[in-house]
Symmetry: C2
Subunit: 690 residues, 2 copies
């Protein structure tokens, strides 16, 4: 049956055909789409299948996904997900990010300085407890504090009882609350990564495009007590991979979608959030590119940031273009009408409140007054520096930790403290040269966005130019030394107050302003959450429980069909081949970013060039799904998701499946490359269980 | 004697030494710095020297400079100045921009489609006539019209009398007016260009840096009546080039400086003009880069735009950083104080007007209300498309040409009509793919900068997304056909009104809004010009005539000394060598933009590697000086200016000479490369007169 949304999508694409079904949905593991799968694909989603998928799926805490692929803690994800660790493990002499890495034996595996992996253990519905703690008579401020307190209490109790990392997840923008418990791994070691040139073949040019030819994979292994962890739940590696028309599943951690946002929220996103963010990203990109071009060292230092910024810029440009298409917002408005009508009929029963859409619009009007400041000061866009983030964490920890758990800023609540310290005390190296450039750039951006005479800008610049100020802050700080961070953290308020470290001084200087604007933000978010609780109730009453919530960087199950599509009259096949990569490289004269690594050029004759390389399916994914396992009906791993095509860029707002696809590395391509080019027999044996 | 400004500069740089002199100044040819040169350098600037320099210097109408270097119309400029023509002459098969060009004989020289060169014939002071036409009792609108009318009259009479292109130049922001008469060349042919890789060796990375290794040269020849023009005034090519400590001159066309702007104007530049412009440039740069990476064809189509945008972005970033240094604006303020005091004492004598600084501030306050719209609609930032610019010219020509000369928009006044038609009917090829991308990008930027629901944005988008709208406009337009442009131009108002060409329709649609905002702009500019007339009178009364006016893209003479400087404790020599280029390429692994052309790699052993390649001097230059001849005391050409270093980026506001330098190609390097690598004996013979 065509859903409203898929129909809309079809209209948007200007197609005349009627969609017969849509594979939309990033489904909760505790509310899986059993009936849909049974009806459409005759597939029985058993508890056992689901339980294994849950425990074999991994959240990468730097914002992505992965999975176990052996009983001995071996995990696979994308090269671009491993990039942060590859970069931190690299030195002037050894650039693992560019040149790749392979540990032939376990003692050669390299420990990542600050990579935390989470595996979902259980989900508990806590909507009643949390909504019950907030009373109708409370002001937004009181309600926000009450909500914060009950969340701190629930997570603290859960941690004490189970020893597991415990997070409360806000679903439906405030319509539901679930408590997620995770097993945590912090000893994660690098096993294998291919060269950047083949992992990201086609670079920024082909990013969000298809056909593709990327070996975007990276293997890690989790350790416990110094030994490889036992991971009995893992995905068997498929030696055949998927065929056209196959049903496949993606089990991963989609980051953010905005499909259930109201019309006014999307409009605000179009008119404020995206223009601001695109401006920020283009500013950073220009600076990073200029820095990276200075020489090989700067190239190595900047490349991960540069990838991430260019990737976001491209994704958000696509989103913005989507929202500039009048059809999308018009449709959103018309979808809201029936719910609004229901409210008008029944709203009185819900307590006689103003309708929730107007409450959200009112909170947006508030937000518009301070939103830029919030991003600059509190989110830290003004201080793009790892040293500053460390300084702020230290300054705030000194204020927050002495408070009752329920009254702390959420990121300091006791249930999350261990993960926070793991990041804070990370020994990952830090480049002062890169820090200076980024901080000078962001200080300059504040002046551009606000005004060079805005009091907060003047305060941050302290009478100097951005470049001079950044140099003084970065060169004068000792926070690159982990023991100094520990000393300040352990020394509490007194140590912080006495510190003359310029970064600590800056973090102290701007903290009151930042906290003030955050308080406003939190209160307006609280208004929005309460309104969404009402909207969600209405939506469930009208449509039943089969609308999955927007993505929240928590585990979700998506499903779809492996199939090609048409573009500009050209039929794109569901899969590319290894041979196709060589052809594309030649077509573009082997120029960056279409230069194959030497290993590939030399080893071409050893490869079976007909091996499928990348493939596409209709399953519903978004940023955060990078590295997600793609599974077949048997629960075998047939691919590793690494991208979606440009037609999928509006997926934040609407799901479409006529042309939108996610792109994965084919499981056979991995085996073929490991065998014929990387001489990685140990790894193949572990993957194939022989 | 240290001038106020040079002293300031020294303070800004935090240096303790006192400057003993400063080589500041882009001097007018009719107000040359004879005494300064005599006092400081014992140099007699004779009338003969000056007259030859004037007639051998060339203005490139695409915004740069050059000079004659043989009696047969041979000219030299920069590769990046010739780039526009190189790109327009290139085809899918022959990429002259990338691969270079050499015409061994005259019949192989290639005619540029729309390059116009101007040579200054004479200057006439017309301040009295122009200021006399504006009466104190007139409103800003009346004054603007009166000024426009007298300028149209003077230029028309001059053209009729002399047959020469006649322009009125506004100096001192309105303090003086001179009439410039130019001999015009429109048959300009390409003679020689080296490969882009060596012309722009180091690319964006080394742009505005030193040491440098760029063969940034390009040779053209002007023709008259189908034959090489006779150019008896030309610069002899120096076979030795300059030595350290030599006095040199730069005779060229600096574009814009802002040194005489008021404090409030600079503040407005910092808080509005530069942030807006940087946002625009970064937006364009990201799109162009993405486009260029698609493949070799797109690379060729986009590279000239990309160079120009990246170059501006880097230059303006430097300017913005300069204005963010509180010292610069503070100094400006204190420099203004004595002039203000004089006004307070004597202002009454000048007619009892409000003081000019306050009048400028008031006009700025006005401007701030519509300035973004002015840039988007009237300057055309919203419609970044050659087809649109053609359409607008046609639409406006139909309205303007029937009017009296004095009442037309200045760009349509009869004295300039021939040059306007030369551009309008240019047969230069036009890529619809590039046009679509640029127009879609700029339509999208308007929404970002204003709002997606701003009525003028909605009007321009006509209910479609930017991409769809741009595609419809570009693909539907027939204005790529020169005969269609002629038909519409000749058909006048009726032809334009009847046209259904979508670009013409768009240009008609936005014209009323664009004209309205331009009218406001022109009136506020008029207020500013009148105020600057007062400020200039005060300044001359106080300091005498030895303050040269800000740059106006007209011929100026600068002088300076060839010398190295220190940077971060490193002593940089006054010159680099050809061998240094090879070393730098190796140091950076021959990766773009440090890849030498094959010709250079193969021919290395043939070169005298000790030959000086680029050199620096203290002479006062700015953008627009690109391609300027650098001359010695004898008036021989010792170099071709092509860049300034990053310390020179604040030259828009202050001149400094401690580290700021302009960078030139050494005359010996050109001869050595032509002889040993390019097999260009005919050209060498012509240059050396043998």
């Amino acid at each position: 049956m065509p859903s409203v949304r898929s129909f809309v999508a079809v209209c948007l694409l200007g197609l005349l055909s009627i969609a017969v079904r849509a594979d939309e949905g990033m489904w909760l593991f505790n509310q899986p789409p059993r009936e849909l799968l049974k009806d459409r694909y005759g597939f029985d989603l058993t508890d056992a299948w689901l339980a294994k998928a849950q425990r074999a799926s991994i959240r990468f805490n730097n914002g992505a996904s992965g999975s176990f692929v052996s009983p001995d803690g071996l995990c696979v994800t994308n090269h671009h997900v491993g990039a942060d660790s590859l970069q931190k493990l690299s030195t002037k002499e050894k650039n693992f990010y560019q040149d790749g890495f392979y540990a032939k034996s376990r003692d050669q595996e390299l420990k990542c300085p600050d990579l935390e992996l989470n595996v979902l253990d259980s989900i508990e519905e806590v909507t009643k407890e949390i909504q019950g703690a907030v009373e109708a008579s409370m002001s937004a401020q009181e309600a926000d504090l009450a909500r914060r307190a009950i969340i701190a209490k629930l997570t603290k109790e859960s941690l004490a009882k189970t020893g597991l990392r415990s997070d409360v997840v806000t679903l439906y923008n405030g319509g539901q609350y679930h408590l997620y418990r995770y097993k945590k791994y912090t000893d994660v070691r690098l096993v294998m990564a291919p060269e950047h040139a083949i992992a990201f073949f086609g670079g920024d040019t082909d990013n969000f495009e298809y056909p593709r030819y990327d070996l975007d994979i990276c293997f890690f292994r989790v350790y416990e007590d110094g030994k490889p962890a036992k991971t009995p739940n893992y995905f068997a590696w498929s030696k055949t991979g998927p065929a056209e028309g196959d049903l496949v599943f993606v089990s991963g951690h989609p980051g953010t979608t905005n499909r259930l946002e109201t019309f006014e929220l999307l409009r605000h996103r179009r008119d404020f959030v995206l223009p601001y963010t695109l401006r920020l990203l283009r500013h950073r990109e220009a600076l990073l590119r200029q820095f990276a071009e200075k020489g090989p060292t700067q190239q190595r230092l900047a490349e991960e940031d540069l990838y991430s910024v260019a990737n976001s810029r491209k994704a958000l440009t696509g989103q913005y273009q989507g929202l500039l298409d009048p059809a999308i917002l018009k449709t959103k408005q018309s979808m809201e009408a029936p719910l609004r009508a229901t409210w008008e009929r029944t709203g009185k029963d819900l307590g006689g409140k103003t309708n929730p859409w107007d409450r959200i619009s009112a909170s947006l009007e508030n937000r518009a007054r301070y939103e830029t400041l919030y991003y600059l000061l509190e989110r830290g866009d003004a201080f793009d520096s790892r040293l500053f983030r460390i300084a702020r964490t230290l300054v705030r920890a000194a204020d927050e930790l002495p408070k009752d758990d329920g009254k702390r800023l959420p990121e300091f609540k006791s249930a999350g403290l261990e993960s926070l310290k793991f990041q804070l005390f990370s020994p990952a190296p830090l480049s002062r040269e890169l820090e200076r450039m980024k901080l000078a750039g962001s200080l300059s951006l504040v002046a551009e966005v606000l005004s060079a005479e805005e009091p907060r800008v003047l305060k941050a610049l302290a009478g100097a130019s951005p470049a001079k100020r950044a140099a003084a802050l970065v060169d004068g700080s000792k926070l690159n030394d982990v023991s100094e961070r520990r000393r300040l953290f352990d020394g509490g308020k007194k140590a912080i107050d006495e510190s003359t470290d310029p970064m600590i001084v800056l973090a102290r200087l701007v903290d009151a302003d930042a906290r003030a604007v955050r308080e406003k933000w939190d209160q307006d978010q609280e208004v929005s959450k309460q309104a969404f609780a009402d909207i969600t109730r209405l939506m469930f009453a009208q449509k039943g429980n089969d609308v999955p919530p927007d993505a929240t960087f928590t585990l979700r199950l998506a499903y779809g069909v492996v199939k090609g599509y048409e573009e500009d009259g050209r039929k794109l096949p569901f899969t590319t081949t290894l041979g196709g990569a060589f052809e594309r490289a030649e077509e573009l004269n082997n120029r960056e970013p279409f230069n194959m690594p030497k290993r590939w050029l030399d080893g071409r004759s050893k490869l079976d060039l007909k091996t499928p390389f990348n493939f596409v399916s209709t399953a519903d994914t978004i940023g955060g799904n990078s590295g997600s396992p793609v599974l077949n009906r048997q629960g075998e791993l047939v691919g590793i998701n690494f991208d979606r095509n440009r037609h999928g860029l509006v997926r934040n707002f609407v799901y479409t499946e006529e042309q939108a696809r996610h792109v994965s590395v084919h499981s056979r391509a991995v085996l073929e490359a490991l065998r014929s080019l990387y001489d990685a027999n140990e790894l193949i044996l572990e993957l194939t269980g022989k």
